[in-house]
């Protein structure tokens, strides 16, 4: 169960760290273009079956058609994005809510946890046909599946994070006479935030997967539908152009979560931490410069 927490990406993989990336971008570009040229040449000379492995120029044409001249992809893109985000939000609300309830209430934890484990080992995507049968062919079934897939990592990570609070700090709070409510808001919850965010990040990606799989299985709109349609028409160039939109969407959502993580769990990253410290010092000027009027020495 806890291995879900292992996929937090290393900081080295954060692509929006622009300054670090820019330096190498030139060479990367050259290599990338080289690969494209070789591929194009191989395609033109008939080394590949052009239907199954379309050459770059054909993919570029398809991209132009889908994204520029026809612009057909945008509506589907929006539908899938909306479904994924909605599913994620539902999962986050239910997952964090249940995890908090379990963390605060021992008997709840004891008698609900076994079902959560059963749910965990069930390949959640196997529920796809059932969820579609329950919720119909529209958006709601996609949102529901996205939420089901995203629920577990969020729930497990939140619960693990809330249960992990270290005994020393707990004792310190008790020695200060903290109430349970204060213990939760001022210690357990903030201490769990890094874990919660790791779960939310996995949940975000999972929600997108759930939505796309649901669209593959049965739907009328969304990029998954486009993908299925082009693949079965053996229009591989368009299928790959659609895949690109999925990568973009993944990148977009993932980056969004990373930025949120960076802002909220700032104390885990040196640069952010320094910035936040400076900002707080600046804000402190108000009480610091004010004359100490009310001192009762």
């Amino acid at each position: 169960m806890t291995d879900l927490t292992q996929t937090t990406p290393s900081p080295a993989l954060r692509w929006w760290n622009l300054s670090a990336v820019l330096g190498r971008v030139g060479l990367h570009l050259v290599i990338f273009l080289g690969i494209l040229a070789a591929w194009e040449a191989a395609g033109r000379f008939g080394l590949f079956n052009d239907y199954l492995v379309p050459r770059p120029s054909r993919i570029a044409t398809a991209i132009g058609r889908l994204y520029v001249t026809q612009g057909a992809i945008y509506w589907h893109f929006f539908v899938t994005l909306f479904e994924a985000v909605a599913g994620f939000l539902v999962a986050a609300a239910v997952g964090i809510g249940l995890a908090v309830a379990s963390a605060l209430n021992e008997s709840f934890r004891r008698y609900v946890a076994p079902y959560a484990i059963v749910l965990n080992v069930t390949p959640a995507l196997a529920l796809t046909p059932i969820v579609i049968a329950w919720f119909g062919f529209g958006w709601s079934s996609k949102i529901a599946l996205g939420a089901i897939i995203a629920f577990f990592p969020i729930f497990v990570n939140t619960l693990t994070g809330l249960m992990e609070t270290d005994a020393d700090r707990h004792e310190m709070f008790r020695s200060l006479g903290a109430k349970n409510r204060q213990l939760f808001w001022k210690l357990r919850l903030p201490a769990a935030l890094p874990m919660i965010f790791a779960g939310l990040k996995i949940g975000m990606t999972s929600a997108l997967v759930g939505v796309i799989v649901a669209e593959f299985t049965q739907a009328t709109e969304g990029v998954g539908v486009l993908m299925n349609r082009y693949s079965f028409q053996l229009d591989m160039a368009s299928a790959i152009a659609t895949l690109l939109s999925m990568s973009l969407m993944g990148l977009l959502l993932f980056t969004l979560m990373e930025i949120l993580d960076d802002r909220i769990v700032f104390w885990r990253r040196d640069a952010r931490m320094a910035a936040v410290g400076k900002a707080r010092a600046r804000r402190a000027l108000s009480w610091r410069t004010k004359p100490a009027a009310a001192r009762k020495d």
């Binding site: 310190m172 020695s175 200060l176 001022k186 700032f266 104390w267 931490m273 320094a274 001192r295």
Partner: protein
């Protein structure tokens, strides 16, 4: 027990507290802690962690608790703090029996236990925040305390930006921010290197003298225990009990050099005999 009030007349020579937390003018020698046969057993009573400890502490006294692991010194400290209940005897602080953590008793731990999402000053303000709304005056007071423990320019540093010694300084400031006049310190510098520890010990003496708190200091280092304290409570294990209370007659403020004196070494031997004879 053989509790002898230490003559605190040298206190007059100490710098005037920046902001006295303890009401000044009360005559030294007032008993603030009274323990009679404090006992702690675990399970069905067969495991004795602490057996019948009796002692008294005067206002402003610095008392070290020294002994090997398992002698019950941390248990005793936690009973005084109200963190764990005793199973026998009586213990009163300021004339009131201790049954739970109280605002007149503060504790500092071996780990700094800082909240890593709060800056140093926000960590210092935690005790106030748990009691009531934080005012600008509280903030100024916290800044003063950070100044006092030598962290003037680090109010807005996060714990991860501070060294281990500096983190313990923040923890000390947080302890003082509680306003408690009974200060319980559980091996507060035990995890630090020798040099840092010595320096912090000297500063600790200065700071607690400045606020005039009654201090209990747990350690397993005999030299440290004697150097810091007015009295040393020597504890022995199996079962944990208070074996002897040794008076330390050195004048204050003290200098590290007293550790070379024959009187100091005699005290070390005395304590070692109690521990070794066990």
């Amino acid at each position: 027990m053989n509790s002898i009030a230490i003559d605190r007349s040298s206190a007059a020579a100490r710098p005037v507290p920046a902001r006295p937390r303890v009401v000044g003018g009360v005559s030294a020698g007032e008993t603030v802690i009274e323990a009679r046969g404090v006992t702690k057993t675990f399970g069905d009573g067969s495991v004795v962690a602490l057996e019948g400890a009796s002692f008294e502490a005067k206002k402003g006294e610095f008392i070290s608790l020294v002994g090997p692991s398992g002698c019950g010194k941390s248990t005793l400290l936690r009973i005084i703090s109200g963190l764990i209940p005793k199973t026998g005897g009586s213990l009163s602080v300021h004339g009131r029996e201790v049954t739970e953590p109280r605002s007149d008793i503060g504790m500092m731990f071996q780990k700094a236990t800082l909240l890593e999402w709060r800056t140093a000053i926000e960590n210092v303000l935690l005790p106030t925040e748990l009691q009531r709304r934080v005012t600008a005056d509280d903030k100024r007071r916290a800044a003063e305390l950070l100044h006092m423990v030598g962290l003037k320019d680090f109010e807005f540093a996060f714990p991860r930006q501070l060294s281990g010694g500096m983190q313990q300084r923040v923890a000390l400031a947080r302890l003082l921010q509680t306003g408690a006049d009974i200060l319980l310190l559980d091996e507060p510098f035990g995890a630090l290197d020798e040099f840092t520890r010595e320096r912090l010990n000297v500063e600790l003496m200065r700071v607690v003298a400045e606020v005039g708190g009654t201090t209990f200091f747990v350690t397993h280092n005999i030299q440290e225990a004697i150097f810091l304290a007015d009295r040393v409570m020597v504890m022995t294990p199996r079962p944990g009990r208070l074996a002897k209370i040794v008076d330390v007659p050195f004048e204050r403020p003290r200098d590290l050099s007293i550790q070379q004196s024959p009187e100091f070494n005699a005290l070390v031997s005395e304590v070692r005999d109690v521990l070794g004879g066990h």
